[in-house]
């Protein structure tokens, strides 16, 4: 038997495969397909202090080997999460991580404080990289000072595992990663979506109601892999990699490039059972290559 367990800060994951925020709802939506207890972790839908309706329809455009989305953090707010959703999912046998979003630093802090109360939420993923909101979101994640400010403020009130989700829409993601590490982040996850756009040539209109949206899927995998490798080489905290992972080979590429764990996002839309296939594929690979512990794979790239 191979050992798939990995550690993100003081969080023990039974395997390195998680589902990505905004692509697995609150778990319940995919429970028909997937035994959630098999997952290393699950990052639930981006949550905000207040209820948000998100952006207007259309919010989606298919692109070559990928898609653009402009959901804009539609969610019912933290109160609803705590009273309605949390009780239903809290006893799942996997780590539930909440993706935390704000328009201001105060938002982030207030939200974190609320989540801090929840026993069964061992970690938060601080989203400073959402490209689909007018205020806050990605704005925090594209400069070192603002990224530092929000992480610093949240770190003060949050004692559990703090993962910071980075934006790829920057000149140097390694600089941002170092900046948030400097403020006490326990881990970084990357990449969020790349800012993109789709145009309907016949109508000469943007396809998305918001004109631009976030690009995800296999199209962005080469960029995500490069960023994971750059960040892995720049920081000491564990890196969680994602961006276009569709199968075990993709997942292994990220881990070889330096990811301690990976998240499956857009792939779930095409096949919500993919996480299990990835877990099995990683085991199979380890057996074939006679690798005992998955930790040996992390950052094993030979350059």
């Amino acid at each position: 038997m191979v050992n798939l367990g990995i550690k993100i800060h003081n969080l023990d994951l039974k395997n390195p495969v998680m589902t990505a925020s905004g692509t697995c709802g609150f778990g319940e939506e995919i429970a028909d397909f997937l035994d959630l207890s098999l997952l290393g972790g699950m990052v639930v839908k981006g949550t905000t202090l207040k209820h948000r309706e998100g952006n207007a329809y259309p919010r989606m455009a298919e692109t070559p080997s990928g898609m653009l989305n402009a959901v804009g953090l539609q969610n019912k707010g933290i109160d609803n999460f705590i009273s309605n959703i949390y009780p239903r999912i809290k006893d799942l046998d996997t780590h539930i991580i909440v993706n935390v979003n704000g328009s201001t630093i105060e938002d982030y802090v207030a939200l974190t404080e609320r989540l801090n109360e929840l026993d069964r939420i061992p970690a938060i993923e601080l989203n400073i990289s959402c490209p689909n909101v007018k205020e806050g979101g990605m704005a925090f994640g594209i400069s070192c000072p603002s990224a530092e400010a929000v992480v610093k403020a949240v770190r003060k009130v949050y004692g559990k595992t703090l993962i910071v989700k980075l934006s790829p829409n920057v000149t140097s993601i390694a600089e941002i990663a170092k900046a948030v590490e400097g403020q006490g982040a326990d881990s970084v996850s990357l990449i969020n979506t790349l800012l993109g756009m789709a145009v309907n040539a016949e109508t000469r209109k943007p396809v998305l109601s918001t004109i631009t949206g976030g690009l995800s899927g296999p199209a962005i995998k080469p960029i995500a892999l490069r960023m994971v490798w750059q960040v892995y080489n720049a920081v000491k905290i564990p890196v969680i990699g994602m961006g276009g992972i569709m199968n075990a080979t993709d997942a292994l590429e990220f881990m070889i490039a330096g990811a301690s764990a990976i998240q499956v996002g857009t792939a779930l839309f095409i096949d919500p059972t993919i996480p299990v296939k990835i877990i099995d594929g990683i085991s199979e690979y380890m057996e074939r290559h006679k690798i005992q512990s998955v930790n040996e794979i992390i950052g094993s790239l030979q350059c």
Partner: protein, 257 residues
Amino acid sequence: MKKTVIDFLLLDNKQLNKDNFQLTLQSPLPVSDIFPGQFINVEIKEATEIFLRRPFSILDVDYEKQTIALLVKILGRGSKKLTEARPGQTISAIFPLGKSFTLPDQNDRVLLIGGGSGVAPMLFLSKICGLKPENVTVLIGARSASDHIDVTAYQSYGQFYYTTEDGSLGEKGYVTNHPVFTEKLNQYTKIYTCGPDLMMKAIGRKAIDTNIFCEVSLENMMACGFGVCLCCVEDTKTGHKCVCTDGPVFNVNDLKW
């Protein structure tokens, strides 16, 4: 029935007219509790640059044989590719998805209006609604006679009327120009419709005005089809609702039409 990613076996792929095909799919699992309005999200295999699945309504179900039928109209690359699938091929799909139309009560007199590929759930509903044929009216609109599909198999479930834009079959004009709609609407207690947005809006507004129960089946663009991506939302009176899970069937009174 639990939502599942299923490998269906394509039993039959019949061209109905220029752009419409009827696909019959064999399920390896029992198919149960499938109702009109529900849909399936189909993987388009081996197609260059098609990334997401494509949703199609259930046209029919044979619970015994464990088969389902789809009506596929060629619109773009994915639907085209799907119509080229050959019997014997497996077709991966996520199934069943969405909420169905509210089935009528025994005393209802229903009007089912289908346009384009929206005829699929209407035919299914005519078959399954459990009403006497005289209480079921089916009105189908298309551009021209050659765009209408043969509905003989459903003829015994109700009275069928047609419109064409060029007058080549039935009434000339849109479904909303047909006497059934313009003159006899008050004979019906429930209206169900699926088809182009503009058609459904015209019908829905009239239903609101005349205070007749009306359900429409929306076809918003989808990424997942099972409620996780939040891409398919419709702006309803109670906020953004997912067409794939809260719908695709909505009561017009809930919409901002």
